[in-house]
């Protein structure tokens, strides 16, 4: 289990290799990479604000919950903050398990819960000035489906 909150980019290949290093009981690794999307008219950068301290605590709680629900050999969450441009990586979530179902479900769970619980806020740079991104109902719905299990 590992959590990192950082301004810098990360090396996907190195991170995923380190996740499984030395544990040959792992049969599958599922990962999700979130990227800054170009919105509507032209490139728009954004700045990610977060709540230092609470962020790490919430991510650790979400990761611990995934480890309670699924038999995981390893897990990793890296989330960036600061100014990011379209195409930049925002987040990496990865889970490793003996079997692929557990890896898929736990990885999906982590990103869904992170989206509604980890204290990050996106400030988008638009042609009309900076604008705080509004939370999406679809994110709440995605997180809720894991409550019903």
């Amino acid at each position: 289990m590992a959590i990192r909150v950082q301004a810098d980019d990360f090396d996907i290949g190195a991170e995923l290799a380190a996740l499984t290093e030395g544990d040959a009981s792992i049969g599958g690794v599922t990962s999700f990479i979130g990227l800054v999307r170009e919105m509507g008219s032209g490139p728009s950068a954004m700045t990610l604000e977060h709540y230092p301290g609470m962020t790490e605590r919430q991510l650790a709680e979400i990761e611990a919950e995934a480890n309670r629900r699924w038999p995981l050999q390893a897990s990793l969450i890296i989330h960036r903050y600061g100014r990011l441009e379209p195409g930049d990586r925002i987040v990496l979530v990865a889970t490793a398990s003996k079997h692929r179902e557990a890896a898929f479900e736990s990885c999906h769970f982590l990103i869904d819960w992170l989206k509604t619980r980890a204290p990050f806020w996106k400030l988008e740079e638009t042609a009309e000035g900076s604008q705080w991104v509004e939370a999406k109902d679809s994110d709440d719905a995605a997180a809720d489906k894991w409550q019903q299990r």
């Binding site: 925002i90 992170l114 990050f120 509004e134 939370a135």
Partner: protein
Amino acid sequence: MKLLYFAWLRTKIGVSQEDVAPPAEVRDVASLIGWLQTRGPNFADALKNPSVVRVAVNQEYVRPGHPLAAGDEVALFPPVTGG
């Protein structure tokens, strides 16, 4: 009591954190928000719709009825949009 504001709550209120000593009748999160609304037009505007304000006490999410103590770190912010 330490107060923290994030995202548009921070920009509307105009400060990111402050130390406050609320009156004795402020015993829970709901009454804290009620008191903050009286502290000026910036607070009144930022907190005019408490249903869109999320609150964490000592870095854990809490509900409006959550009791408060003098040494608490209380954060107010909009629904999160990371990931």
